[in-house]
Amino acid sequence: MDMILLAELAVNGVFVGLMYALLAAGIVLIYKTSGIANMAQGALAMMGAYVVVILAGSLGLPMWAAIPLAIAIMFAFGAAIERVALRRMIGQPVIMVIMLTIGLEILLRGVMPGLFGAAVKRLNLGIPNAPVFLGDLFLNRAILIGGGVSLGLILLSILFFNSRFGIIMRAVSDNQTASWSVGIKVEQAIAVAWGMSATMATTSGVLWGATQGVDWSLSLLLIKALAIAILGGLDSIVGVLVAGVIVGLAESMATGILDPIVGGGTRDVVASVIILMTLLFRPHGLFGREHIERV
């Protein structure tokens, strides 16, 4: 096996993993504050990318204005979902809540292409496609930038958890009732978590949309994000970062080493095996807190 190819795959894998991790961070954020697994995260990414395309394409806004505006719109949308739908589900069994977010996913997958066209749309961030060579090592510019932006945002959200509002959110995730009794606005904290999560989804939708174009298939990013969130531990942002790198590396290496042996695309199976192994050996992930149940 060629060492340089391995190095290329490794670098690529790490940065792609970081791009997935950004979406996973949104899932973690919501789970941390409200204990809900948001299966619509991929659909939110798709919606965010659609909004950018609409703002930039149909309304003719420049990219630097369209993206922040889309992020603002999506923040409001995320907070609105929480208010309209998820809040009414408090106290329902976990199956119901998961299914509600799956319903939302299906709904968005119908509404966006239905209203704004199903054909693939171009989303041009202006990142040049020309390859970058570091000695003999080939680096993919779009993925480097995408991974870098993702890393920045995830680090930012870790910092955020040390700010005053971040501490409020940690309190909410620890114990909602207790937070309430000391005067914390629990609803507000959860709404902000949803808004931020939608923001992250939008960013990752834009980053992926720049590579693959914008259509419904952006919502398929969900599976990878879930694998990362589970491996890292559903309530740990640091875990997402580590798990993103691990999953990205594992997938990239599997494609390079396993595929020729198996003769098939093993990428998704690797994600599934990671989920299964994590659940069997460390159900709460690498960095997740164990949930203690009382009768």
Partner: protein, 357 residues
Amino acid sequence: MFFRKAGISFTRYQDERRIWRLPADRWTVAVILALLIAAPFLIDRLYIISYLLPLIIWSMAAMGLNLLMGGAGQIHLGYGAVIGIGAYASVHAMRAGVPFELAMILGGVAAAAVGVIFGAAALRVKGLYLAMATLAMQYIVDFVIVQFPAISGGSQAALAVPRVSFLGIAVEGDNAPYYVALAICTVLTLFMLNVRRTSFGRALAAVREKDYAASIIGVDPFRYKLLAFWVSSFIGGMTGAVLAVCYYRTISPDQFHLDLSIQLVAMVIVGGLGSVLGVFLGVGLILFAPIVLNQLISWGADQFGLAIPIDLRAHLPLMLYGALIMGFLLIEPLGLAKIYNNIRNYFLVWPFRHARQ
């Protein structure tokens, strides 16, 4: 008005435990069954083949899933894969000359064996984590089926089902598959109606409510969770065999993808967790709402010249599907079964609606 009894009040526990608590229920069911048996003579073959038959088969699958989700409280997002295992195992058996009756059971056993391995994850994790474990199962089974030509049937990945007979009746034409599916579904429905009256069903309910509490009162959650996975996967596998023989006739891997799993979970939830009647209602709604909506739109377009853009028109059923799931969860989380119950209770005490049911 419609019921000769006003409200259900019992003096003995035996009465309350009966399947049909009211004579009217028994009659309703008998009439519906008679109508189903007579259906091929009453309605067009189109409605038998493309509405009633899938309704029956999907209901069987949803009942199997409902035993797990509504009965034992275990979520399963990989039930499509379970059905797929059953279908492939039984079709390969039939191609090797095993009779349909036996192949069906073989499919069930194969599905149950694999299902239990993945269900074993349920012993360590629950809720959301279990959902993820079963989701992973879906992907792994899909991968295995596609990657091994010996399973999927060569480069065309289409495996034809040979002509078979069920208890001496050749399963071909329009009506025979329908009757075979109906017969199996009837047996399964009776099983499902009875299961919660048994100790097994009650143990599952205890596990569903709180597994730690169940173990304190002497119900072994380990054993019953595994049993629930076993029974439910067995039903799924059998359904796979029926699906292959009576409906698809050629099976290919994409028939058993994640979409099927999500669809079945949606059916169970829209119908009402744990309800046998709800399963049929939920399956009917989820399966046919998109088709009817589609026809409605094209009819509207023909009659009134509604100019809906093709993209929008094509995506409306998908929107409806999502909206149905969300709407039911938000407005009536107990599903169609609960709505039916409300209506029934209303009529039970009619016209004294202030009275207790």
